[in-house]
């Protein structure tokens, strides 16, 4: 049981990017290390050989001097003395034919004595005292002729450099080994950690895919790349959840707000067909039916517009617009209707506020607010509407205040939801989409819609103030 799981765990480990990358890096570093070691080795070997050559050459010239001064006897004595010293060099006196006559070497790789000057490559030899041991040594030597045509070889064992090379090789193997094991251990720890976090994230995504949109990806709190990824995915999920929630609310409300008028429409047609006989009665029923379907179309249009605005397709038509002019236009458009409803309209419009926006959308949004204000302030004693456009720092504030019944603070958030009409009897005409549309329009302009209570001169709160806040980004650019 354990072994296959382990194997699959390792397999999974190798599928992680971190481990793959580390493997690549390990190979690269190992190659570099190997190259470095071999380079240093060959350089230092060359250096050692140069030193050996130097000492050998110096000895050769000394031996030549001894021969000129002391003749053959002097030479033999000097060589005997030198040969006896510990770690001595190699000395051979050979006949012109290449036969060893004297020296501290027993046998020699054939052909070494044939050529005068430096042996081009290390050669093998056997020393006195080493007989029986099959071991042969490599050496570097210089061969030269004495005036009496005897051959002299002076050489030095290469045993030491060979050892050095072995040592380097060995340390290289050890170093690479430690490096490999260390890397494996680190990868395993890091990779397993990464895997575990990834597993947690995919677990959470799986639950989200199964329909639990309230799930969020785990955030470790270290602020690393995993956390940053989780955070932005979570923000995305929040947005999706909000949209989804809105959609569900709409479908819930469609049942009521679209099906109810449809049912009424159908009932009216049915009643007319069953009960009416006079053409005038039919006429009246039919015009009621048309009015009913017009209201339905209105609701559909508002819904479509909200979804189009929210989908951002209206953004294409943004440009510099004169907010002051739009507000003045709308006030002028709605003022007579408000006065007919017994309301006084006051407007304080700051001059010359230009923003980046869509004139139609802002007009529609402000129209909706004015329409609401007229609907709800109608019948209030000394009913009035105050429209105010002001620049506040970098932002532009556009507010419509009425002194109608207002909305209790706890219900204000609900008022922005689609199809929500706080007037439960639904006695006022309307689609229930007005404020949702205003909010969607503000979202396109990167602004906000705020609902608050209207305060009068004495600080008494009554009525509703809806404030559209256009941010600096929209105001500044124009």
């Amino acid at each position: 049981m354990a072994a296959p799981r382990m194997a699959s765990g390792v397999k999974a480990l190798f599928r992680t990017t971190a481990v793959r990358l580390s493997a690549l890096y390990l190979l690269l570093f190992a190659a570099c290390a190997a190259f470095l070691v071999f380079y240093v080795t060959s350089m230092s070997q060359g250096l050692l050989r140069d030193q050996i050559r130097e000492t050998v050459a110096q000895e050769a010239s000394e031996i030549e001097q001894v021969f000129t001064r002391g003749g053959m006897n002097g030479l033999l004595r000097a060589l005997e003395r030198r040969a006896r010293q510990p770690g001595a060099n190699l000395y051979i006196i050979a006949s012109p034919a290449g036969e060893i006559l004297a020296g501290n070497v027993l046998s020699l790789q054939p052909g070494v004595l044939d050529q005068e000057g430096w042996t081009t490559a290390p050669f093998r030899y056997e020393r006195y005292g080493d007989e029986g041991k099959s071991e042969r040594h490599a050496a570097l030597a210089e061969v030269f002729l004495l005036p009496n045509s005897l051959k002299i070889l002076v050489g030095r064992d290469l045993g030491d450099p060979e050892n050095f090379r072995g040592l380097v090789r060995q340390s290289l193997v050890v170093a690479l080994g430690i490096m490999g094991i260390g890397a494996l251990a680190i990868w395993y720890l890091i990779g397993r950690n990464a895997l575990r976090r990834m597993d947690r994230m995919s677990g959470a995504s799986q639950r989200i895919m199964d329909g639990d949109l309230t799930q969020r990806l785990p955030v470790g709190g270290s602020g690393d790349e995993f956390d940053r990824l989780s955070e932005s995915l979570n923000a995305m999920l929040g947005r999706i959840e909000k949209l989804n929630e809105g959609l569900r609310q709409v479908s819930d409300n469609i049942a009521h707000d679209l099906k109810t008028p449809l049912t009424r429409l159908r009932n009216k047609a049915e009643a007319a067909l069953a009960g009416k006989t006079e053409p005038a009665e039919f006429r009246e029923s039919l015009s009621e039916i048309i009015a009913e379907s017009d209201q339905l179309i209105r609701t559909f249009n508002a819904l479509l517009m909200i979804s189009r605005v929210e989908a951002g397709s209206a953004v294409a038509e943004m440009g510099p617009v004169d907010l002051t002019q739009i507000v003045a236009d709308c006030v002028e458009l709605y003022e007579p209707a408000a006065e007919d409803a017994g309301l006084s309209v006051k407007s304080e419009i700051a001059p010359d506020i230009q923003i980046i926006g869509n004139r139609e959308l802002i007009g529609q949004a402000l129209g909706n607010l004015l329409d609401n204000a007229i609907k709800y302030a109608e019948g209030a004693s000394e009913g009035r509407i105050v429209v105010r456009l002001a620049r506040e720092g970098e932002t532009a504030l556009l507010s419509v205040a009425d002194n109608g019944p207002g909305i209790p603070a706890e219900h204000r958030a609900d008022a922005l939801k689609r199809f929500v009409r706080l007037d439960k009897s639904r006695s006022k005409p309307g689609t229930g989409l007005g404020l949702s549309l205003v909010e969607a329009v503000m979202e396109v302009h990167h602004g906000t819609l705020k609902l608050s209570a209207t305060a009068d001169e004495k600080g008494m709160e009554h009525g509703l103030t809806a404030t559209m806040c256009f941010p600096a980004s929209a105001v500044g650019k124009a």
Binding site: N301, A302, A314, L333, A337, Q364, G367
Partner: protein, 227 residues
């Protein structure tokens, strides 16, 4: 007046043809973009009604093709796409008016009549007259029976538009579009209030009514006596 209806929905086309005939307007029908383009090129019409989404050639390309051939028959675009930007693209393609579906026939009829009238007479009249009502466009003065009537600037523009289309029905949305230059749905009766204020100013001291409300459609200014 003779119009061409380019509409692929045969039921809708049959309904429109019948309704226009009852309103005294003769219509031809094409059910796709190519045949619509052919008919509009070969024959002379007063107005084209073009559905935006058509088989073979869409409505916008039909209109731009006609304009490229220097045929400037006024065109009204009908579309299920009714958003602000759709209207803008429609008018940019050479359309003269844009009506989102679903629409009231009275709205379509009013717009077609205004478009058909527009073609014949370039608007060079400096003074509009309906009965004893007189509007001087240059001096911005309105007189009735020689007596000057004071109007707000917007009321002046409202009356100007109504008198320009005297004898024709103009709908509330047409007024909002042409007098206020907005295309949204004002929901409440804002336009009606403006019209009734204007009406009280021009009819207050006179017996003869001029500005009529056309039920289920809109308004019309007309001299009932001489007509």
């Amino acid at each position: 007046m003779k119009i061409l209806i380019v509409e692929d929905d045969l039921d809708a086309a049959a309904y429109l043809t019948k309704a226009f005939r009852e309103a005294g307007i003769v219509s031809d029908h094409a059910s796709d973009g190519d045949s619509g383009l052919f008919l509009a090129t070969e024959n002379t019409y007063d107005v084209l009604i073009v559905d935006r989404m058509l088989p073979r050639r869409d409505g916008l390309s039909l209109i731009s093709e006609l304009r490229a051939k220097a045929i400037h028959t006024p065109a009204l675009i009908l579309s299920a796409l009714g958003q602000v930007d759709d209207r803008v693209t429609g008018l940019r393609a050479g359309g003269d008016d844009y009506l989102p579906k679903p629409y009231a026939f009275s709205e379509l009829l009013a717009r077609v009549e205004v478009l058909g009238r527009r073609k014949g007479s370039p608007d060079q009249d400096m003074t509009y007259r309906v009965g004893d009502l007189e509007l001087d466009r240059l001096a911005h003065v309105v007189r009735r029976g020689g007596k000057e009537i004071l109007l707000q600037p917007r009321e002046f523009r409202l009356l100007e538009y109504l008198m320009k289309n005297a004898g024709q029905v103009v709908t509330r949305t047409m007024l909002l579009e042409n007098v206020w230059d907005y295309h949204f749905d004002p929901q409440t009766n804002v336009i009606d209030v403006h019209v009734s204020r204007l009406r009280s100013k021009i009819e207050k001291d006179f017996d003869q009514p001029l500005l009529r409300t056309v039920r289920g459609a809109g308004y019309m200014i007309k001299d009932e006596v001489s007509a």
